[in-house]
Amino acid sequence: MTDAIVLAVVVPIFGAMLSMIAGLRFDRSGWTVAALTCLAQLGTALAILYTVVQDGTQRYELAGFTPPEGIELVADGLSAPVIVLVATVSLAVVVYARQAGPRGNAFYTLYLLLVGGLAGVTLTGDIFNMYVFLEITGLAAYALVASGDSTESAVAGLKYLILGTIGASLFLLGAGYAYIATGTLNMVDLSEQLAAAGYGSRLVLGAFGLLVTGLLVKVALFPVHTWQPGAYSNAPDSVSVYISALVSTVAAYAVARVLYTVFTPEFFTANPIAQTALVYAAAVSIIAGSVLAVLQRDLKRMLAYSSVSQFGMVVAGFALLSQSAAVGGVIHLIGHAVLKGGLFAAVGVVAAQTGARSIDEYAGLASRAPLSAGLVAVLGLSLVGVPPSVGFVGKFYIAVGAVETGTWPIAAVIFASTVLTLAYFARIIERMYFAQPAVEPSSDGAVAVDVGDGVSADGGEEIHSSAGASPEMVAVVVVAAVAAVTLGFAGSAIESFLEPTLVEVFG
């Protein structure tokens, strides 16, 4: 079943080509192709998961060349859950995009390319290969962000492109440093050769700094997050859902890969300053992201800044270098993807139902769109970290890790993050349930609200369809909300699944 590893990457790219070719003849074939492709990819992802559960880590040598010369794909405890996440979210977003979408074949081609790129980043065991897949991911993501109708989306896409390219270039430079220091690009081989080259070596330190900084740009940690709010909020709704759920997530996964597989905890024992810097950068991001989120009036922007904060938490989990914290990092990575994707999807549903996009327009939403309001509330509270949802479980493990390692300031920030997150979510919940709309919605469901810059050009488009949210769009949000709660009970299962891989890392 190991062939599933390569198929997980090949299938989406194949689908992308198919969608492009089919687009020459049939205008509306994109969705069908994308849906089938994502279904197939989900199959391969589950097969990978199954194999890893049964037989442990799988390595797949491409073209029959043995690493370190050949390129290999790796499915271990770390990458298997992420690939399943990628496949699942991809399928869900395709379902969501059927009604919400951009509908063209070009969209689905780019979309499937993005899926393939993400799968590649997840599964690759080679650092240069990772760069290539990161760039494929980036390219598709830039184009998708810019595919929105609004004038801002092109600017947001370009900004994303420039910063993303700088980040990826730094990553490439770091890979170059590592290559000079060791003469290899295979991750496992690198970890041995780097140790041999000496962790104190400037080349190795430079490689670490450049690789991690490059990835953190893609993760959008404060203060290199500046591309992210614009990209999230100006992209079409389906794209927002997808990139908020997966793009930064996979970049954060890559951080974990680089930290654990390439540099290994011994590197940090030799260079404690590297760990300290990373952990504190993450902590600053947690706080700054929350503060910026509180200041936002547009809901998608607020959610975007919230991601800055949440990814601070994930990176902190990885960088604490304790097994519990790493488990927490992975759980929060998955949990955040489900929650944030679900929230963006919910925002899209609400916009389609009522035209509301700013926090002020959410006033009294509970009476206009009770189901959507309830879903936003459930997902929001999960993100705040109300148990037993998944948002709590990740936070708990990370906190345990922080306490175990005795990094008290970080522990304090992580505990405080509950209240920080509450600071921006309580507003929404309160508005939805306990406030009257400032302006009564007109009878056809459109909202004549004149609040600042709330409704942009694309908002105008949504207004014409009061029944704009299809059942499957709502269903996607419902699934996300249910997953947010049920995944909360999967904490122990994920932990035991990760254990063999992490024991290898932490000894």
Binding site: D3, V6, L7, V10, I13, F14, A16, M17, L18, M20, I21, G23, L24, Y60, E61, L62, A63, G64
Partner: protein
């Protein structure tokens, strides 16, 4: 060039045919194309490969466009053809790569095909695919950028 808006401040330089250029291009083009293919095929055994070969083939397309005008060239090298060539290249790569999986090999493990010099032909096939992608994408980008953009309202 067709949908150029007269309101632009750019100076309109109408395309003029030059028999010297046209004749030269007519003669050179097949050789350039052949050279491109040569570079692609040589990816397996010496320096060369799909990227370089594809770029050379694309250069030929560009050359034709400069000599005969972009419009006529595009009529000849249609968008559909570009898309088919690009996707066909990717698909060729994928099929050649996935083939060994059916024969109990790993992805891109050409020797699994079993016939003599399979790795060589495999690599050449892949290089051809890559060449097709590069050539078509570069031409496509060229045409896309040459097309320029349409003015919308709110123009200053």
């Amino acid at each position: 060039m067709s949908n150029h808006n007269p309101e632009t401040e750019r100076v309109e330089r109408p395309y003029t045919e030059s028999s010297v250029i046209m004749t030269t291009v007519r003669v050179v083009a097949p050789f350039v194309f052949t050279y491109g293919l040569f570079v692609m095929f040589h990816g397996a055994s010496s320096s060369g490969g799909g990227f370089q070969g594809g770029a050379i083939v694309a250069a030929m397309v560009l050359m034709l466009a400069f000599a005969f005008g972009i419009e006529p060239t595009q009529r000849w090298f249609k968008n559909t053809a570009i898309v088919l060539l690009a996707t066909g290249g990717v698909l060729a790569f994928l099929f050649i790569g996935v083939g060994p999986l059916l024969l109990d090999g790993t992805f891109l493990e050409y020797s699994a095909y079993g016939f003599k010099k399979a790795p060589k032909y495999g690599i050449e096939g892949v290089e051809l695919g890559i060449g097709a992608i590069v050539a078509s994408v570069i031409s496509g980008l060229f045409f896309a950028i040459a097309r320029g953009f349409e003015y919308t309202e709110g123009q200053q």
